[in-house]
Symmetry: C2
Subunit: 425 residues, 2 copies
Amino acid sequence: MKKVGVAILGLGVVGGGTYKILSEHREQYKKSHGVDIVVESVLERSKERALSLGIEENRICSNIAEICSNPEIDIVVEVIGGIEPAKTFVLAALNSGKSVVTSNKELYCKYSHQLEKTAKKNRVGLFYEATCVGGVPVIRAMLDNLQGNNFTSIMGIINGTTNYILSKMSQSGAAYKSVLEEAKKLGYAEADPTSDVEGYDAAYKLSILSSLAFHTKIPFTEIYREGIDGIDNLDIEYGKRLGYSLKLLAIGKNEKSGIEVRVHPTFIKSDHPLAGVNDSYNAVFLTGDSVEDVMLYGRGAGALPTGSAIVGDIIYCATHPNHSYSTFNNTEKADSATKFVKNFGSAYYLRLSVQDKTGVLSKVTALLGKHSISVSQFIQESVRDDGRAPLILITHLNKEQNVMRAVSDINSTGFAKVEAVIRTI
Amino acid sequence: MKKVGVAILGLGVVGGGTYKILSEHREQYKKSHGVDIVVESVLERSKERALSLGIEENRICSNIAEICSNPEIDIVVEVIGGIEPAKTFVLAALNSGKSVVTSNKELYCKYSHQLEKTAKKNRVGLFYEATCVGGVPVIRAMLDNLQGNNFTSIMGIINGTTNYILSKMSQSGAAYKSVLEEAKKLGYAEADPTSDVEGYDAAYKLSILSSLAFHTKIPFTEIYREGIDGIDNLDIEYGKRLGYSLKLLAIGKNEKSGIEVRVHPTFIKSDHPLAGVNDSYNAVFLTGDSVEDVMLYGRGAGALPTGSAIVGDIIYCATHPNHSYSTFNNTEKADSATKFVKNFGSAYYLRLSVQDKTGVLSKVTALLGKHSISVSQFIQESVRDDGRAPLILITHLNKEQNVMRAVSDINSTGFAKVEAVIRTI
């Protein structure tokens, strides 16, 4: 039977989950796939951590050179995260003729050009299903199933931490800060949650996914990004009353006018399949010219779900010797012919506080009208203690810059102030 | 550039869709995949149909031998449906060294053993993503992404016609027969709808999908099957009041006690992701030991969605020359070690008509109690014109045979009659 040796770099949550799946299913994979997958080594500073997982002491390495020079190792799994030392280790593994399976979204997003070229030069495989949406098979679906389509749109709830926080805020009515603290305690948010709550993590993944969907390089730097750290629960509540759920949504569109890519808090109509994706579940909603709408849904993170994606890549790598290389992820910059649309279109949710005087609503709508913005829904609330009343509007479809100019005009009047602007789908 | 010749057998809805996708995207696939995919021939009795699609007259064949002997053809696409002549044509193509891509669920379900063996003997590929759930990438996901998992459960809304009919019945309140007639007019149901409404189509697909999920042959003949043709809209309405949606659900479970496979109308709790899968959308909900819950959702049928799956298989076949063969779909019968559970467990919805007398409810619950069946929810309605009152119960989890014995006991009393029994999840 074919034997395949694996080294795991980093025994954190995902590394530990990967080790557990591989060791518990070893006999099964021999039977189902005719291949004996053996974890030959792990690279892990904490010997205790490795021993506690049941890994024999002689398999614990302390430097990448040992792994690169070990002829028993065919596949190197990188689950360290971040740029360095992960990048140096991955390049060393590829250059020593090992295939690489990675879950590192930041590394693949920023350096796919260098990693893909190095893999190709060394004729080894490079697999990255686990970079996006945990165990949900979205990357291979785009590579091997839906590849006959021209995609016009990809929308995803692709960050587990922010979806957990927004779901809890919506369910409990609690404020952002207290839910974030609770999420940290439960392990759903990191001690420094910046990458998740400010939308960086979702933007890395959107760069990877939209490049695959649109068959062209979409650099991270082209993505408009806005996080959830400014979200007031008041808006989640008003949104519910208007029939919307609030999500941190990653959006990619490929239309005649060009490509638009953006990550921001978004009100999703309650009857859209993405509106029901709650807690730490994630989902990607694709629209292709042949397949129409497809949604892939599941756990977006976690030891075993992400481990499932890594093990899927390991088995694929072990059983498909001819690796095919990306034709577009080996460039650093976008193709010069690619046009990025920055002034995108959306319907907008606006929460204003207005003076409690007759005619204010008509003045506000007149100001919006000056910018050709019309209103599809609104709620006017009774006066607050400060003598002003909340006024909530949903606009018809309009352009970003137009709406921002209208907001600026309204704010300069004195009788009304825009306190929240949230895009909708 | 590598050139790949394709022949399409049958230019019905799916064959036409496949031709359209291949011809409209030919230049794109050259660029994205480095392969020139050319439709060399079509096998179609109606010359008019072929010409209307823009196919040149010299590419229209009238017999399979012409296609098998044409050295320009690498891949044969079978979209005829049914057993014969499809089976003879597919075997002839495989035996003449052509790879086959098929959307024929009945053929693959009933003859996978023969087709897989023939493909292997001739070292050609056999692809069948399009047999299940249109363009939704469920088969390759199980083969190439989630293959590291032990699946404990697969549940699917995998028949477009019945989901359309049940959704319309639920939305409009109309009776089964009138919705079926409307569905026929709109092309959502065939003139003879037996295969769809009696659950055969879903059972073919469940046989294919559960064999993949559980890594062992699940013959069609082991599947318990019940269609939607006896469904009364009354039950859809009562189900709604109790928080359920009615779907024709295909269920496969792999537990310690054995494997259970069944297709029947099922009440799904409204907060389950499958409850929101409406109209002609389909979805498969998988639970694996690593990946946990995954749902794949999209159009379950139609020219372009199913064409998308076929074209995905064609591109995969053209770019992955080393085909791997199933280790379990090449047997006709189930492995002798496989145990099938027939007395499965479920919670049940029961609609009874009872005599309008004091103490009837307690008599009914006492009879259920004799069979250790307890009730979790009930609705009692006011008396009808016939002097009897509807009584609707949802039981706690119990065993099929037990509940059927209780139903028989109740029906023999005279004071109550069970008018509907529907399983729930």
